[in-house]
């Protein structure tokens, strides 16, 4: 999974994104999407932040969720709308072009059972990551779930070396062509915990791809009144 940096390259040609992701993950990407979606309770009302071409979104819909997918790229959303035309038509999926900071004025506090954010943090600065966690905390209802999945630097030194070796050529190529790159994120569980989420746990992934979930503390009715 050292190849997520390549996404930045693929994003510039949104129509090739799905094909590229399938090739880079050697066909495992669908399984990864399913694993990420499995961290969200079945049947939830979910906000999929950075839904892209709708990979994880499709897996969420398969779990019976009602999904609002947002992405900052109109091209990616157009592909998602085409692939997921049926759930859009029957109202199980809503797609909106919004970036991270625009969520604040679009959705009220506690609008969702769960917020899911896959392969977005690696494109964000630390300031934006902190903002995102705070915002996700606001968007889920008390007791709701926040799931963040992303490329991480492996913990063991040997794995880290192999990972960096495999990633470097792809990162260089992507950087030369698009002059952008992604940064594997460190401390995903800590980031969620410092954003006020509890029961933060790693819900799966590999040594270089981590799925982390946390829960917004449920308040007693008395405390809400």
């Amino acid at each position: 999974m050292s190849s997520f940096v390549f996404m930045k390259l693929l994003e510039t040609r949104a129509s090739r994104y799905d094909l590229g992701m399938r090739m880079l993950s050697r066909g495992r990407i669908e399984a990864v999407y399913r694993e990420v979606a499995a961290a969200v309770p079945a049947g939830s009302t979910v906000l999929d932040v950075g839904c892209g071409t709708g990979g994880v979104t499709a897996a969420l819909l398969d779990r019976g969720c009602t999904v609002t997918g947002v992405d900052r790229s109109q091209q990616m959303l157009a592909i998602a709308a085409e692939k997921l035309a049926e759930p859009v038509a029957d109202g199980r999926l809503r797609l909106r072009r919004l970036n991270l900071v625009q969520l604040t004025r679009e959705f009220a506090e506690g609008s969702f059972d769960a917020v899911l954010c896959c392969l977005v943090f690696s494109e964000l600065s630390r300031t934006e990551q902190r903002y995102a966690v705070t915002e996700f905390h606001r968007l889920v209802r008390p007791g709701g779930t926040v799931v963040v999945a992303d490329e991480v630097v492996p913990a063991s030194a040997a794995a880290r070396f192999g990972y960096r070796l495999g990633r470097a050529p792809l990162a260089t190529l992507t950087y030369l062509l698009t002059q952008t790159t992604t940064h594997p994120v460190g401390g995903l569980p800590e980031a969620l915990a410092s954003g006020g989420l509890q029961d933060v746990a790693t819900a799966g992934g590999t040594s270089s791809f981590q799925i982390v979930s946390g829960r917004k503390p449920a308040c007693r009715p008395a405390a809400r009144a």
């Binding site: 600065s125 300031t127 952008t180």
Partner: protein, 356 residues
């Protein structure tokens, strides 16, 4: 070009190595953390400035604000590490990024007013009406060169005043050094493979020399950017290379240096005009290599005269080349089409969308 590069600023003195690296690799973005920077001890009416998150620019602006000794806030917008003008003309420093700078910094809670001072060259990308309707903040454009900020704050703040972009010789030398990387590399590496290490190094040096000289001569060139400049330069340098190679001896050297000279001349002349939004679209050939600018290639503004507000001169003032004027009927008119650089600032800033 980032603003404020016309003198050796405190930013360069404070970090000479970093500044030098960023000068040589000017075509690459250097991103810093977006968000809030605090200068002095700002109160609830302190001015709020906004800039891009290109490291070089943030250091320049910070140095000027420190030198001014004012208490203020600086919001660094997430523009992908790209400088103000390139980012705004390329769609990476627009309303979305200003909104992000406001939200990420939490500035709403820190001051009582709602007035942002933006760099003038963000005007091609930022729509002040849209910023206001989304965030409640009012956009005010400051001067083009951040070095002029103290004077603008004293004399004009918060008024929009006419200001034009200038590329003095010093700035052009900087641009020439930054722009030399691609031609020097693209010619130097093959030259080293074919002719050996010394040939490669000599080609790289030649690339830097040609690039800087071209930059210095640029405003005085008789031909238009693109092929009209590239072909004569390639021919001239090709001939010079052939002569030099022949003097050094051998057919191989003659052909090799003719090729090096021609390639270097062509690449420098084609690439340099795209070093500011000034001529990206006029030069047209390499447009596909650069992030799409908001304006289509060869764009010239046309004014919808009935819609144009009599006597409103926002576009006249905001044009970085002074190419628009008010005519006898107090309507905006493009008076200098050759001077227009298709930057889109007039289209973006027209309060009644009368320019397209």
């Amino acid at each position: 070009m980032p603003a404020g590069s016309t003198r050796l600023s405190a930013a360069v003195r404070d970090a000479p190595v970093r500044s030098a690296v960023q000068l040589l690799f000017r075509s690459f973005p250097f991103a810093v953390e977006p968000g809030l920077r605090v200068f002095g001890n700002p109160g609830r009416s302190a001015p709020v400035f906004v800039t891009c998150n290109f490291d070089h620019t943030v250091r320049l602006v910070s140095a000027v604000l420190r030198d001014m000794g004012i208490d203020c806030y600086l919001l660094v917008a997430p523009t992908g590490g790209v400088n103000v003008w390139c980012a705004s003309a390329g769609g990476h420093f627009g309303t979305d990024e200003v909104e992000a700078a406001i939200r990420l910094s939490g500035i709403d809670d820190l001051v009582d007013h709602h007035r942002l001072v933006l760099p003038r060259l963000a005007s091609p990308g930022v729509d002040p009406r849209e910023v206001r309707s989304r965030t409640g903040w009012r956009v005010v454009f400051g001067p083009i060169d951040v070095a002029d900020l103290p004077r603008w704050m004293d004399e004009s703040f918060p008024r929009l005043v006419a200001d034009v972009v200038e590329f003095p010789a010093r700035t052009r030398i900087e641009m020439g050094l930054g722009a030399a990387l691609w031609p020097a590399g693209l010619v130097g590496i093959p030259a080293a493979l074919v002719g050996g290490l010394w040939t490669g190094l000599a080609s790289v040096l030649l690339g830097y020399l040609v690039s800087v000289l071209f930059a210095l001569a640029y405003p005085y060139l008789p031909a238009k950017p693109g092929l009209p400049q590239a072909v004569p330069l390639a021919v001239a340098l090709g001939v010079a290379g052939a002569v030099g190679g022949a003097v050094a001896g051998g057919t191989f050297q003659t052909v090799l240096w003719a090729a090096i000279g021609a390639a270097m001349g062509g690449l420098v002349a084609l690439d340099f005009p795209s070093w500011s939004p000034t001529d990206v679209c006029k030069q047209q050939l390499l447009c596909f290599l650069y992030p799409a600018t908001l304006a289509p290639a060869g764009f010239l503004p046309t004014v919808d005269r009935p819609a144009c507000i009599d006597g409103c001169d926002i576009c006249v003032k905001v044009c970085p080349k002074g190419a628009l004027q008010l005519d006898a009927l107090s309507k905006a008119t493009l008076t200098d089409p050759d001077g227009c650089i298709s930057c889109y600032a007039c289209v973006q800033q027209c309060p009644v969308d009368a320019i397209s």
